[in-house]
């Protein structure tokens, strides 16, 4: 593996961690907040998104454990 690829992999693991779905969800939630904010009050978007992302992430891990 080239050093550049190793470095990029290191950055990915450092920032994203072991749950890329949650990290991608944060990016989508921020984009959605920006979209809603252009027309209306948008403060509620992130708290709702975080509640869903966190619950889904824990639920996925709990399900994996139950399957073992």
């Amino acid at each position: 593996m080239s050093r550049i690829r190793q470095a990029l992999l290191g950055v990915w693991e450092f920032v994203v961690g072991d749950d890329w779905v949650t990290a991608a969800g944060v990016v989508v939630a921020l984009a959605l907040t920006a979209l809603v904010a252009e027309r209306d009050s948008a403060w509620f978007v992130l708290p709702v998104a975080v509640a869903i992302l966190l619950t889904a992430s824990i639920w996925r891990e709990a399900r994996k454990r139950a399957a073992r």
């Binding site: 994203v16 949650t22 907040t33 992302l53």
Partner: protein, 249 residues
């Protein structure tokens, strides 16, 4: 000190204390089994590296326009905060094993002994293991301190909080010469996760163009809400609670 500055100081202190406890275990393991001087040299080199990263990235972050800075900082704090909170909830619920510093110490010490006799004078193994341990544990703290500090233009306060945590943990470690297995690591991780996620929600939304009802006072609602929600998730997903519900169904 304002409420946001207090949040910054507490979050960075706790995050740094958690990572310092983990780094201390690694340094103690190689120090006691091989070479204290080489382990401490590795430790010092890593700290200098972390200071250099802070000095290079800090000015770059603070020069960003405020909205961009808040969006970037909010996004990073949310990603980091949700990782910390997720791990703390999984451990609190019994889905994942708790971090056991004594066990990690035994593993690291066994690996250090298996690596052969230490060299006279400078011991490369002790240096590299201590350097890697401190650098990897410290990098996340540097990013947390930088993102928090840059957004409030208080990188000095963030650095002081981080240094205070390192001094406290190192002081206790030197006095005990034993890993801090009794430190309430998961509770501290939970606290850091709540703070990072709350500030991430607040600044991320502002950076994306939203306005909070009540302005900065909204944090006084966001932090307790994230805390209560996370405690409720820990309780709901507790392994024994899940098994009890399954048995009742």
């Amino acid at each position: 000190m304002s409420g946001q500055e207090l949040g910054l100081a507490v979050s960075v202190f706790l995050a740094c204390a958690v990572e310092a406890v983990e780094a201390l275990t690694i340094v103690l393991a190689v120090g006691t089994t091989r070479s204290w001087s080489s382990a401490l040299s590795g430790c010092l080199a890593a700290v200098l590296g972390l200071v250099a990263v802070t000095a290079i990235l800090g000015p770059g972050l603070t020069s960003l326009p405020l909205d961009t800075l808040r969006l970037v900082v909010g996004g990073l704090l949310l990603v980091f905060g949700l990782q910390w909170l997720r791990k703390a909830i999984l451990r609190g619920a019994g889905i994942k094993a708790l971090h056991d510093e004594d066990e990690i110490f035994r593993e690291q010490a066994a690996a250090a002994r298996a690596a052969g006799s230490p060299h006279e004078g400078f011991d490369g193994y002790s240096f590299v293991i201590a350097f890697k341990g401190v650098l990897l544990e410290g990098l996340e703290v540097v990013f947390i301190a930088l993102t928090f500090g840059a957004n409030q233009h208080r990188i000095g306060l963030a650095a002081a909080s981080a240094a205070a945590a390192v001094l406290v943990v190192a002081g206790i470690g030197v006095a005990l010469r034993h890993p801090l297995a009794r430190a309430p690591e998961n509770a501290m991780k939970f606290g850091v996760g709540v703070m990072l996620t709350s500030f991430g929600i607040f600044w991320g939304a502002e950076g994306a163009g939203a306005s909070w009802p009540g302005g900065d006072a909204a944090l006084l609602v966001i932090i307790p809400t994230v805390l209560v929600f996370s405690l409720a998730l820990t309780r709901f997903f507790r392994v024994d609670a899940i098994e009890g519900r399954a048995a009742a169904a």
